[in-house]
């Protein structure tokens, strides 16, 4: 894995990506002041590869590579960030927008058929329904 630092460019495509995410999420991502409250309080941050506030920054800079990060799939929409952001940004909506951009390309994040039967049998309906809603297109 090439972990050397890569310089990034600011492009029109990047600006369009930002606009797309802002439109789907309905949030003004440029308002984010990068205070880090969302990351600090996120119960799932230790499973992520980049922090929620980092996602906000990368989206603002038009870095489409965030679509390949694990972070928005780990997000469980628990809304802890939503109720704490000092600028009243809804970070959970940004995560949803990023998931949707991928899912709308008909790329599912979960395949129910591959789950072990004993597990599926144990689960309450709500678990399967919500997982499919969130993680499939």
């Amino acid at each position: 894995m090439d972990d050397r630092i890569k310089k990034i460019k600011l492009t029109d495509r990047g600006v369009e990506f930002l606009r797309q995410v802002e439109e789907i999420s309905g949030e003004a991502i440029t308002v984010c002041e990068q205070c880090g409250t969302c990351s600090g309080g996120c119960p799932f941050v230790e499973e992520m590869d980049i922090t929620p506030s980092q996602i906000m920054r990368k989206v603002m800079l038009g870095q489409e590579e965030v679509l390949h990060s694990r972070t928005m799939w780990i997000c469980a929409s628990c809304f802890t960030c939503t109720v704490r952001c000092p600028r009243k940004l809804d970070v959970s909506k940004v995560a949803e927008a990023l998931r949707q951009i991928r899912l709308r390309e008909a790329i599912d994040a979960i395949d129910i058929s591959k789950l072990p039967k004993e597990e599926v049998d144990r689960m309450p309906t709500i678990a399967l329904v919500s997982a499919c809603r969130k993680l499939t297109g």
């Binding site: 002041e33 205070c35 880090g36 409250t37 990351s39 600090g40 309080g41 996120c42 941050v45 000092p86």
Partner: protein, 792 residues
Amino acid sequence: MKIGVYLCQCGGNISNTVDLEAIQKHIEGGDEIAVVRQESHLCSGAGQKAIIEDIGAFGLDRVVIASCSPQFHEKTFRGALSRAGLNPYMLEIANFREHCSWAHKDNPEAATIKATDLLDASVGKVRHNVPLEEKMMKLGDDVLVIGGGIAGIQTALDLADSGKNVTLVEKQPTIGGNMTILTKTFPTEDCASCILSPKMAEVQGHKRINLIVDGEIESIKGHRLHFEAKIKHKPRYISPEINMDECIGCAQCEEACPVSAPNHWEQGVVKRKAIFIPAPHAIPYKYIIDKEICLHDSEGCTACFDVCPQKAMVFDQEPEYSNVAVDAVVVATGYDIFDAREKPVFGYGEFENVVNGLEMERIVDHINEKNPPRDVGKRVAFIQCVGSRDEQVGREYCSRVCCMYSTKLASLLKQARPETDIYIFYTDLRAFGKGFEEYYKRAQKMGIKFIRGKPAEFKEDPKTKMVTVLVEDTLSRDIIEAEFDLVVLAAGLTPSKSTEKIAEQLKLAVSDDGFLKEAHPKYRPVDTLVEGVFLAGTVQGPKDIPDTVAQGSAAAGRVIATLAKGEFAVDPMLAFVHDDKCTACGECYEVCPVNAIAENSDGKAEIKETLCVGCGACLGACSEEAIDLNGFTNIQLYSAVEAALAGKKPGEKRALVFGDSNCTYRVADAAGVRKMKYANDNRVLMVPSSCRVTPNLVAFAFAKGADIVLIGDCPEKGNKFEWAHDFAKKYIEQAKQILADKGIETDRIIFDDFTASNLPKFVNTLNSISEQMKKLPNIDPGKRAELNPLEK
């Protein structure tokens, strides 16, 4: 009656579009018209000279000028009248330029017709003008300063040194305010009390300062440089005759007292007894009993009294009241620190080792004592932006001083306890002032670590009581989960609790962030929109000590400049009462929003001129039309309306617009200046405010030919008369009822607000009114006649 009419050509600006010849012919020979003249530039020396000479030659007793908008030369022409020996208020101006020749440049015929109507209206009005006297109010040297913190102290000293008589009212038992709670100050690390005490002593000793502690403003009335305040003197429960020369300072009372409570001047870090002296440098240096914890009333405890050699305690002392009349007021009621219990995630008030900034000031102040009341442990965290820059608690603003005060506390702590590991968690480090950046670097050099991240939540270890902080370092993208012995919340400044009450009492505007609003944020930072009331210090917004002291002196300077005139002219366009019409029904006493109407010794209504602001709201409440408004009397406006509509020909439609002088009339002017095109079937008459427009006046307008009546005002927010919209809407409802009773469409009466920042709204409104009128049926002349209130 001899009326002089002057038509200004305005160098062609008017005469190129409006046919002044025709208008001169129209007006010449009218009743009591003594002379009609056209001039190239009436505002010039020559123009004014012509008017002055005519006044002498023809014995004119009133003048009508058709020219540009009154906002430009009303003062000029009033001055000319004065120089001619005529009362300056025997003048009316018809707006031929902005409302006619410029607004309807493309339609000279219509412009001329409109101008004719406006001139007729002015002539109709001037017939009923009466001489008005500008009363001169003498200005004294008395000033009330509310709040005895550093801002109030600085203001009081500057004012007293310049010869003013200052009454300084402070609600706490000592002056000094929040600054007495601080340890050292940034960036010099000077001791706060050392700077403050000499000034406090000076205040106490100054012969021109009447210092009232334990004082609250019970009520305050007035405006326009004359205020009357009732001050409540809260009891200290110590005999007022005992001064500290007699009190031998034996402190036996304190020792004997059985109950303790947290000391406000120590932010609870240290306790004090029920009988106590607030702070070591309190001024006045005198005991006070805290009745809330004192056991005298509930258990008959007299422990302090028993041991006092002077028997100084008076347990049943009652509050006293005094009155003071002043010429100016300075509000310096300061700040309270944000109550961090509003952020439960930080555990303030619950976790043992979480404190706020002011508490830390006391902790650091005591840290070098042999047994400090509270120590700090090995690892300390400061958290910035608590209760500021946080929309979740409704405080979007930056509190300006917290970055620096945390840096200071960290620096002092590090010097006292070098082995402490100190972290400051910030979102943006604001070190903007003189010496601030250098101070910040020195702090960093000491090893204080500044981490860019705002913690999301804290946990308290139930056994060790250490606080675990969870925060992202946004610069390294590490998520830190670390334990601290002490966490300091750099809580922001919020307006003090007493500020809301004072703002209500003085009718002061409040900014969106809750602090008191200055008259203009850029060039009038210590004035308010209430004449004679000034602001100083953190009551206007968060700021540090140098800025507070600067504002204190600034407010004093503004007071001195304002009072230097010695006297000021009261606007004569205030309300008055026709005694013969007044039935003493008392309806108006309740109506006046500034309580300017009261019953006089004859039982009739009387206007208190020092309080009246000339809005005209009372007129609509008087069923007898006994209350009237100088400059805009009932008869003046009826005459103007009738004349403005008299030129309407059959088949034509007219909209009568009552435009308030602050906004709507000026917006109409601005539209004319920009030559914006709009319908010419409207006539704009000036009123001081929309609330002057009585239901009768509206009905009269319809009676005399109006098809639509538009009433315009400034928007509600920031309106000079904050009650105007409420009154206007009420009177309009009544007017609509009058129309409805006659089966006339009530949407012919329109109320809207206009501002100079939205000229298209004005233009579009008049255009759509013109369209609306074309669609509306004609009002039957018989019905119109029935609407006339003067025929009832």
